[in-house]
């Protein structure tokens, strides 16, 4: 398989994502935002950071980068697209994922380890986990409060598109466990086709036990399994 990590002006988790993929044995390249081709990558990672300084709205300007049409086509074509933090915001702005991410409830930027519960393991992103298993992964954002209208939220639930929810140490969804005021403690969602996934937590920062958690690997392992299976079939 081949993976592509996009680089926008202001991306700053591109190197971390590149490293995490490399270490999980993936053949990965950077793709500059001014390019128009993804070189046939099976996995496209839209990394975290402050694309265009996050001016105006997070992801609002990056959405119009020359590379984005190629990303949309790839998504239509079934390629896997992963948006982490700012990448999640970009995918929402680009309409590849429903809803939007607004200012954290307490208005502060928040960086800390949180616990997220896997809500659906039958996806390319979570198949290496068991439903209900809890991952310890860091967040680092100022605008990670997920919001959407009632209809969208209903669909997300009905289609089991909510893949991660913030939970407490006991694995329970609670207001205290919600770091940023997200609707229904939502930490990550995928599209109806399951091939586009956005999350606020940073799995690429949780792939090395020396950093306090390696739970993030589960996301990347799931992708590998999924693509492996697909290649075999």
């Amino acid at each position: 398989m081949k993976a592509a990590v996009l680089r926008f002006p202001g991306s700053n988790c591109d190197q971390d994502a590149h490293l995490a993929l490399r270490e999980s044995g993936v053949d990965v390249d950077y793709v500059w935002h001014k390019d128009t081709s993804l070189g046939g990558a099976d996995l496209i990672v839209v990394p975290g950071g402050f694309s265009y300084g996050d001016y105006l709205r997070c992801g609002a300007i990056a959405r119009f980068s020359p590379i984005m049409p190629a990303v949309k086509d790839a998504a239509k074509g079934g390629a896997l697209v992963l948006g982490i933090c700012n990448g999640f915001q970009i995918l929402c702005e680009a309409g590849l994922l429903p809803g939007a991410l607004i200012r954290n409830r307490d208005l502060h930027f928040i960086c800390e380890h949180v616990r997220v519960r896997v809500e659906n393991y039958e996806t390319p992103w979570t198949n290496a986990a068991v439903t209900g298993s809890v991952l310890r992964i860091p967040i680092a954002h100022g605008e990670g409060s997920y919001t959407a209208d009632d209809a969208t939220l209903r669909d997300l639930n009905r289609n089991r598109q909510i893949l991660l929810r913030y939970v407490d140490a006991r694995g329970a969804v609670s207001p205290e466990a919600n770091p940023n005021g997200s609707l229904e403690n939502i930490a990550g969602i995928c599209n109806a086709a399951r091939n586009v996934f956005g999350l606020m937590p940073h799995p690429e920062r949780a792939c090395d036990p020396r950093l306090g958690s390696a739970d993030g690997r589960i996301i990347f392992q799931s992708v590998l399994t999924h693509l492996g299976v697909r290649a075999a079939a």
Binding site: N12, A20, Y55, C111, E112, E204, R205
Partner: protein
């Protein structure tokens, strides 16, 4: 062209003698532009005219030193295998007092620029902050809260956006910082030995490029501004406020590193204080050449700017690059790729002149070397202060009330409210989260683990400047040791009051002596730093604050050690003596409202022995936690070790033996570290420490949900819940109000 009047000279902060010196250098009267140039270059901020003689006292050499203090924008230290680190600390005190958010933000931008100007990729930052008290409803407390919140948000804004994690630092609160907050920011970057970039204008005929943000009227005369007392009038200097653009700087950082990886660059210099002026004359003086630039070619944000304004502007996110003739296209391609403004603004000459044209017309012409290096140097008058009086008889205090009170003092309380706002995990290298003794970071490029800390107990420095400074170095080294690191080198930030006040200057001289002694004692040369004087409001000068930033190396990931207790049943061991006396302690300050008593004695030999012993125990993998004993004494150290693991705090039962309870719990004797280890290893550790002749004793055992301390026949107990809320909620509660 306006004539140069004595008033004009005074307004530029220049003395009549200094003006005479300018005339001799030029062999004529300067014009107004040249006067402005001299005034910023000869301000304390750029010329160190009041402190240069003092700074000469620092040890600056060592076999690891690749770039010495003062040589370039930051010192560079060898960390092995062809890898090096560049690091430095910078202050942005005065701008932050006027506009905390932007002042702190541009402070971060400035120090990060210093680091990548060296050719290094910035990997992390620390921030060392000082404010007045934040608790209470009085106007002063409200102001201090506004400054504290603004500064922290500004650091977060810039550091988070540019993607350099802020992984450590310190925050202290004391009345002496009312109206005069301190914002010192440290940044460290990594590079290969052969990548070290120089700020010299080499190669006559080489083109000079201006790259980065357009020049506006920002921060006009900011350097001069940082070299005066803060008065009501300085509020009128507010147009001086610069706005930072971390996004632009992120692009500038990537573009510059990409360019430095080519062979196109002959020299590079960031535009910090005194912007274009400083960068042109310093590159020329370093290169032993001259530089000629034409201001008409400089990218500008505003119209109708005069040569004076352009030269003295402190717009952020700009660089000056001397390019090898014929390689211009490389520069253009890279800066177009990154959508950054650039312009060829001049050329390197052989006449040693800083020549500034404005559309071909001569605007300023000054011998560059003289401007940069012949600034006046002053030895200011010193007046020693009397030794602090002893605290005398102290009313009895309830120990069970005292510990929570100390833990709730914001200087000691948890700083989570602060570092939670900083992205402290980007770059996937943070091995010890903020909250432990030192920041520990895995530099993946080099596969090296570095530790860094910033320390200064200004209360000590106020009472006994020299001893306070010696202790600042010792505490920094102790913090590194407790994390498993070997100290390598130091950067310092000297924050003091007006140097024309003899007592202030005596404090400065004493602190420099103390730092120098400390650096020699631990073989940690000073590789750079920063001086901030005139930290003085009508109410008086700040406590002398020589902030120490120290960097160390951790040999193996197995040596990384954190400060919190791990498992019930583990033994708790004190390395060093139990100590006595309450002089200069936070206990005196918080419980008795006194800044009094002699500063704890520090014996470098003893201190070194303790460090060597602790490091040996860590390397033998016998140690599960190590925490240095500092503000608040043993009781606070033990409580911190119980509490710093937010997710599972754990109790301890302690016996400190015979003596006065308050002294046993809260004395701040030096050379002490609290370890924990598997119970079965306790006797081994005590035996090994004994063989080394290092005093040590078992204090007790980890476990339970309270902290109990027997001292002098008195037993005190605190539930973890009570201690935790005192320690963890203090700052958030203050900031909610």
């Amino acid at each position: 062209m306006s004539a140069i009047t004595p008033e004009l000279i005074a307004k530029h902060g220049l003395t009549p003698e200094e003006y005479e010196r300018i005339k001799t250098i030029l062999g004529r009267e300067p014009n107004i532009t040249e006067l402005g140039v001299f005034s910023v270059m000869w301000s304390e901020h750029c010329s160190y005219k009041n402190t240069r003689l003092q700074l000469k006292k620092f040890p600056t050499t060592g076999e690891r030193v690749l770039v010495k203090a003062g040589e370039e924008n930051a010192g560079v230290i060898d960390i092995g295998d062809g890898w090096a680190v560049a690091f430095k600390m910078e202050s942005h005190n005065h701008p932050s007092a006027i506009e905390p958010f932007q002042g702190a933000a541009t402070g971060v931008g400035g120090i990060i620029r210093d680091i990548f100007t060296m050719g290094a990729r910035p990997v992390f930052s620390l921030d060392s902050l000082r404010f007045g008290p934040i608790h209470g409803d009085d106007a002063q407390a409200k102001t201090n809260r506004r400054l504290f919140a603004g500064v922290v948000a500004g650091i977060a804004h810039y550091g988070n956006c540019i993607g350099v994690p802020t992984i450590g630092g310190e925050v202290h609160f004391d009345e002496s910082y009312n109206g005069n907050p301190l914002v010192n920011v440290f940044c460290l970057g990594v590079l290969r030995h052969e990548q070290i970039a120089r700020g010299a204008a080499k190669g006559v005929g080489n083109p000079v490029f201006y790259v980065g943000a357009e020049t506006g009227r920002d921060g006009l005369a900011g350097a001069a501004f940082a070299s005066r007392d803060l008065t009501e009038e300085s509020k009128q200097d507010r147009p001086a406020v610069q706005v930072g653009d971390p996004f632009r700087e992120k692009l500038l950082l990537e573009a510059c590193l990409e360019l430095l990886a080519t062979d196109a660059v002959a020299g590079i210099q960031d535009m910090g204080a005194a912007g274009l002026t400083c960068s042109t004359c310093e590159t020329a003086s370093r290169g032993g050449t001259g530089v000629e630039i034409d201001l008409a070619k400089v990218p500008k944000r505003e119209t109708g700017m005069t040569p004076y304004e352009i030269l003295l502007s402190e717009s952020q996110e700009r660089m000056l690059i001397i390019v090898h003739k014929g390689r211009e296209q490389v520069v253009k391609d890279i800066f177009e790729k990154w959508d950054l403004p650039y312009a060829e603004v001049g050329v390197v000459r052989d006449d040693g002149m800083m020549r500034v044209l404005d559309g071909g017309e001569l605007a300023a012409e000054i011998p560059a070397a003289k401007l940069a290096d012949d600034a006046p140097v002053y030895e200011r008058e010193q007046k020693p202060r009397p030794l602090p009086e002893s605290p005398g008889e102290l009313p009895a205090v309830d120990m069970e009330a005292a510990l929570p009170a100390l833990l709730a003092h914001p200087t000691i309380a948890s700083k989570q409210w602060v570092w939670r706002q900083y992205d402290h995990m980007v770059r996937a290298g943070t091995c010890a989260l903020p909250g432990s003794d030192a920041a520990v970071f895995l530099i993946r490029e080099a596969n090296k683990i570095v530790a860094a800390t910033s320390d200064c107990n200004a209360l000590y420095c106020a009472l006994e400047p020299r001893n306070g400074a010696r202790i600042a170095i010792a505490e920094a080294a102790r913090n590194l040791t407790c994390s498993g690191a070997v100290p390598l080198a130091v950067t310092d930030n000297l924050n003091f009051g007006n140097p024309h006040n003899p007592e202030n200057f005596w404090q400065l001289a004493e602190c420099v002596d103390g730092l120098a002694e400390g650096c020699r004692a631990f073989d940690t040369p000073v590789t750079g730093g920063n001086v901030s004087l005139y930290n003085q409001s009508p109410a008086g000068a700040i406590d002398p604050t020589p902030t120490v930033g120290m960097v160390g190396l951790i040999e193996s990931e197995h040596h990384i050690t954190t400060s919190h207790f791990k498992d019930a049943g583990d033994a708790i061991i004190l390395v060093g003596e139990i100590g006595d006396g309450l002089g200069a302690s936070h206990f005196l300050k918080v419980m008795h409202g006194r800044k009094a008593g002699r500063v704890p004695a520090l014996d470098f030999a003893k201190e070194r022995a303790v460090h060597a012993a602790v490091l040996a125990m860590i390397r033998s993998r016998l140690v599960k936690s190590a925490h240095d004993c500092s503000e608040g004494g043993l009781a606070v150290t033990l409580a911190e070790s119980c509490l710093t693991n937010r997710e599972q705090p754990i109790g301890a039962s302690i016996d400190l033996g015979a003596g006065r309870a308050d002294e046993l719990l809260f004395n701040e004797s030096q050379s002490r570290v609290v370890l924990s280890c598997r119970a079965s290893n306790a006797s081994t550790i005590l035996m090994l420490l004994d063989l080394r002749g290092v005093p040590a004793r078992r204090l007790g055992t980890v476990g339970g949900d309270e902290l109990t301390i027997k001292a002098g026949g008195e037993e005190s107990r605190w539930s973890l819940k009570k201690l935790r809320s005192a320690w963890a909620d203090s700052i958030p509660n203050a900031m909610r109000g």
